[in-house]
């Protein structure tokens, strides 16, 4: 396992190094699919230049990063090589985290399955659905490969988008959650929320995971349930408060709050990206703008409670679902966010027999990824297409992502159903049954 992983790392670093040195790096750094007004490296440099000129970076509308990023890059931007290494290591961090995740996750899962089998909860014919250590041995390597060699991640890293940093923090949060360290999990989640608001929805799966691990029953009437929630939230909100105060002391003003969080929530910048917000709000009737803004933002947070109720025994899958929902419906998505939840897919490779639309979805995703730059060029440079062409591909890309996520959810629920009810179902008259959702 160590040798293939090392080889994979070397290949990944080589590809990124080669692209960094080529002329493609500048081209990629300007692509709207890869960078957004929040994550662009050009804007980080601009913010630092404004700081050098003696003007607060938040007095204008170009810089929307958090003060800690200023603090970090103030020292690192002079060392371009180290910055480059940081980004590559940011990516490496993620895959190493996933690797360790699986090393730690696997024994827990196997134990759970063993107990269930022994308790006769699983019927005999669903034996083939149970995962064995042998088939799960290569999952960490596959996850690392999916993340490191994903063209989306490579583009995102070469563009020096701060999305890579966000992904690294989320991966560290995931690792500390799986390892069982409540404090670190709260701190990393707080860092991720501090950078972009949406990861706050990951509180719920983190708490569910810890409660499952510490054998606290998820019951509203139990004191231990509420006590654990209070503990976790106290750690989370405490670290968030500390971070916000630290940011205040960096520049001595609260200007960064409307510039960073007000910007993410109120979407004033309509630069095209792969998401749904830009064209919608470019063509919105002024009267309804606030209403639809609220609707779209609530849409991201709204699936947390229902999904948590349905998936309360499967917090890891819940994290995947939440990450996917955030990446699709956030206000300024980029391909780096998409790559994060795509990296999870090898973990659910045992669901492939229940997936229904995977061929269609992969074809649409590939086609859209190819068409994005083409139609952008036709609109912006050639002038022979207009914004509708690019918008159409955006719609298709998001529909494909939604189909992918709901397909995996369907497959997961179906496997759970078969695990408890048996794989080969028969109708009352003995003929083969079909399973529908009702």
């Amino acid at each position: 396992m160590a040798a293939p992983l090392t080889l994979l790392l070397i290949v990944a670093v080589t590809i990124r190094a080669a692209l960094f040195r080529s002329s493609l790096a500048e081209l990629i750094a300007e692509r709207v699919e890869v960078v957004s007004p929040i994550t662009a490296w050009k804007r980080v440099v601009e913010g630092l230049a404004l700081l050098d000129l003696g003007v607060s970076p938040y007095s204008g509308d170009v810089f929307h990063e958090t003060p800690l990023i200023i603090y970090m890059f103030h020292f690192l931007v002079d060392y371009a090589e180290i910055t480059f290494m940081t980004f590559v290591f940011g990516a490496l961090c993620v895959c190493i985290c996933f690797f360790f995740i699986y090393l730690s996750l696997m024994p827990f899962q196997f134990r759970k399955q063993k107990f269930a089998l022994e308790a006769d909860r699983y019927p005999m014919d669903s034996l083939e659905l149970i995962r064995s250590p042998k088939e799960m041995y290569y999952v960490p390597l596959k996850v690392a490969m999916f993340y490191l060699l994903n063209p989306f991640t490579i583009l995102s890293c070469v563009a020096k988008s701060t999305c890579g940093l966000n992904n690294a923090v989320l991966a560290l949060f995931f690792l500390s959650t799986i390892k069982g360290n409540v404090l670190l999990s709260a701190i990393f989640l707080c860092l991720a929320t501090y950078q972009s608001i949406y990861p706050i929805t990951l509180c719920a799966p983190a708490m569910l995971y810890f409660m499952q691990r510490q054998y606290i029953p998820v019951n509203f009437h139990r004191v231990s349930f509420w006590w654990f929630i209070v503990q976790y939230l106290f750690m989370y909100l405490g670290s968030l408060f500390v971070l916000i105060c630290l940011s205040f002391f960096l520049l001595g003003s609260w200007d960064y709050l409307p510039s960073v969080y007000g910007f993410i929530l109120s979407v004033p910048d309509l630069t095209p990206n792969i998401g749904l917000f830009w064209y919608f709000f470019a063509e919105m009737f002024e009267h309804f703008r606030l209403f639809f803004l609220c609707v779209f933002q609530i849409n991201v947070f709204f699936y947390t409670i229902p999904l948590s109720i349905k998936l309360k025994e499967h917090p890891v899958f819940l994290i995947f679902m939440q990450l996917a929902v955030i990446s699709i419906f956030k206000s300024y998505p980029t391909v780096g966010d998409v790559a994060l939840y795509l990296a999870f897919l090898p973990v659910w490779s045992h669901l492939h027999r229940f997936l229904r639309n995977i061929f269609l979805v992969s074809c649409v995703l590939l086609a859209c990824s190819a068409l994005f730059p083409v139609l952008w060029h036709l609109w912006i440079y050639a002038g022979s297409a207009n914004s509708n062409f690019y918008y159409a591909i955006t719609l298709l890309f998001n529909v494909a992502q939604i189909l992918l996520v709901s397909d995996y959810f369907y497959a997961f629920l179906r496997r759970e159903h078969h695990l408890t009810n048996g794989l080969y179902l028969k109708r009352k008259d003995g003929s083969e049954a079909t399973l529908i959702l009702k």
Partner: protein, 561 residues
């Protein structure tokens, strides 16, 4: 020959001076500059409201007292001043409308006062100055120092705005003429007929209000109102074959009398390039000559005094005729001139290049560059580069105010030292924003205008300038105050830019809302189904006959099939 300096006449309460300067240009065109100055000893700021207006227009007087204005400069220009072909103008102005105002220290809310002032001026001049709002107003920190009295350091009382898209036409000329004491009935203003004035290559009319000192010690001050009108008439456009200009050809009118209210009414012709009369000849000839130091150069003028009856001759009308005999002569290259353009391709990014030429052979001088760029062109100040002769030229002072979307524009002011005989290039990259569909003007593919850059400088002069501003001097040489002898103040404006922005499809708002909501609903629907439904074994649907039979059976109370 009368010397230019004489004892100033005893100061009256009101004083009106009018003059017209005609300068033939080397390209065959002719430059006419009108100035009408009213001086009034009064105090608008005192408690009792001023009620007796004689020569000073009441509308402007009320504007000054109501809005506590210290200085007001407004200009409307059609066309762009070509410095390389025409030299330096007496009163520079950018294309479109420009308004800059210094308010008194007593004003508490400058922004609200500015908004009201622009609306009132919009009514007075019949111009759409109401488009001036916070998105095109800036507060320059170093340029636009007051031209009148006052040592000011607090730039929060200064506001500057331009409207590069503003068109000037007869509707703006008429209220401007109404402000003159004699109107357009007598004096030089009879020449201001719109059909010829707007048939020119360049037309600029302006109003400047400021306080000036009355004497050398500046014990008393008076308010000065200057109305200026600059025009450049094109030789070929007016359908002429040989090079000959007359008042009738330029204005389709001749002068018949001076304004009775004016204490001085003069017509100056620049004959510096024609000392012995070998280039062109003037008729009717005049014996009056005047010398003045203007724009760093000593120029000689033939003077026609319109207050004298003899100027008009027996026909009682003055139709000045300038006939050229030879076409030689080199124009002196202006010491400072500038160009600006947009580089790049596509609708995503671009670069603004400003080039400043210092044509002095051995002296270098500093220039103050003011750039106000609208918010929808997002400037990246880290890409700013200033190079002279291929090498980096670091500005000694940079003041940058970044823009806020839909609130205020970018403001960039730099003090750059221009090396002698060189070109300095200032480049900065920008990104074009996609606006909301309601924010585009009616013709969105025409593009968006970016106002001219303003370059202010003290240019070394070949002739010693006079620093005593209260001396009796022709109006055209006394507009800019002169603080030192060896240099004169110059302000030049670059071209405005026309930049295209990416546009959304304007016919699609309803469609876009429906389609995007459909995609969100697809997500919501799939997740809703998976969350609220559970897997069940499908019971086959019985046929229609069986279903009807089951309904009847249920009614009978018998178990179904």
């Amino acid at each position: 020959m009368e010397a230019a300096h004489c004892q100033p006449p005893p100061r009256e309460k009101w004083l009106l001076t009018e003059e017209l300067v005609i300068r033939p240009l080397h390209s065959g065109d002719i430059y006419a500059s009108f100035q009408f100055r009213t001086l009034w000893d009064t105090d608008f700021m005192r408690e009792n409201k001023v009620s007796h207006y004689r020569l000073f227009p009441k509308s402007l007087g009320q504007v000054i007292s109501k809005f506590s204005v210290r200085e007001l400069h407004i200009s409307f220009t059609q066309g762009y001043w070509r410095t390389m072909q025409w030299g330096q103008p007496f009163i520079p102005s950018p294309p479109g409308a420009e308004l800059w105002v210094w308010f008194q220290d007593s004003v508490t809310d400058v922004d609200a006062t500015w908004k009201e002032l622009t609306n009132v001026l919009s009514g007075i001049f019949c111009a759409s100055l109401n488009f001036i709002d916070s998105t095109n107003t800036v507060q320059p920190s170093a340029s636009f120092k007051p031209l009148g009295l006052g040592n000011v350091t607090d730039h929060s009382f200064l506001r500057y705005a331009t409207l590069p898209r503003e068109i000037v036409c007869t509707e703006n000329l008429t209220p401007w003429k109404k402000l003159l004491p004699c109107g357009s009935k007598a004096g030089l203003a009879v020449l201001l007929k719109s059909e010829k004035l707007f048939h020119s290559s360049f037309h600029s009319q302006a109003v400047h209000i400021r306080s000036v000192c009355q004497d050398w010690q500046c014990k008393t001050t008076s308010w000065e109102l200057r109305q200026t009108l600059n025009s450049v008439f094109d030789l070929h456009n007016s359908g002429q074959t040989k090079r000959e200009w007359s008042l009738f050809k330029m204005f389709s009118r001749t002068l018949t009398e001076a304004c009775p209210l004016a204490s001085s009414s003069k017509l100056y012709i620049d004959i510096t390039d024609n000392p012995q009369g070998e280039q062109f000849e003037l008729s009717p000839a005049t014996s009056l000559l005047s010398q003045a130091v203007v724009l760093g150069d000593r120029r000689t003028f033939s003077v026609y005094d319109l207050t004298q009856e003899t100027t008009f001759g027996t026909v009682r009308s003055l139709n000045l005729l300038i006939r050229w005999k030879s076409n030689e002569g080199e124009m002196l290259r202006p010491l400072l001139h500038a160009e600006r353009y947009v580089a790049g391709y596509g609708l995503q990014t671009g670069e603004i290049h400003t080039l400043m030429y210092n044509n002095h052979p051995y002296r270098s001088f500093p220039v103050l560059l003011l750039d106000s760029v609208p918010w929808y062109l997002r400037l990246y100040i880290h890409t700013l580069s200033v190079t002279s002769k291929g090498k980096d030229n670091k500005p000694s002072y940079i003041h940058y105010e970044p823009s806020k979307d839909r609130v205020k524009p970018h403001l960039l002011e730099m003090l750059i030292q221009l090396p002698p005989n060189s070109v300095t290039e200032v480049t900065v990259q920008f990104e074009r924003a996609l606006l909301k569909w309601t924010e585009y003007p009616p013709d969105p593919n025409h593009g968006f205008y970016v106002g001219s850059s303003v370059i202010s400088s003290l240019v070394p002069s070949t002739v010693a300038m006079h620093t005593n501003s209260t001396r009796e001097r022709p109006l055209f040489s006394s507009f800019f105050p002169c603080k030192e002898e060896s240099s004169y103040f110059v302000r030049i404006y670059t071209e405005p830019l026309l930049v295209n922005l990416p546009t959304p499809d304007f016919s699609m708002p309803y469609n876009v809302i429906c389609l995007t909501c459909t995609v969100v609903a697809v997500g919501y629907g799939s997740l809703y189904n998976l969350l609220t439904r559970s897997f069940q074994i499908e019971e086959p649907n019985p046929g229609l006959a069986k279903r009807i039979a089951n309904v009847i059976r249920r009614m009978r109370g018998v178990p179904p099939l």
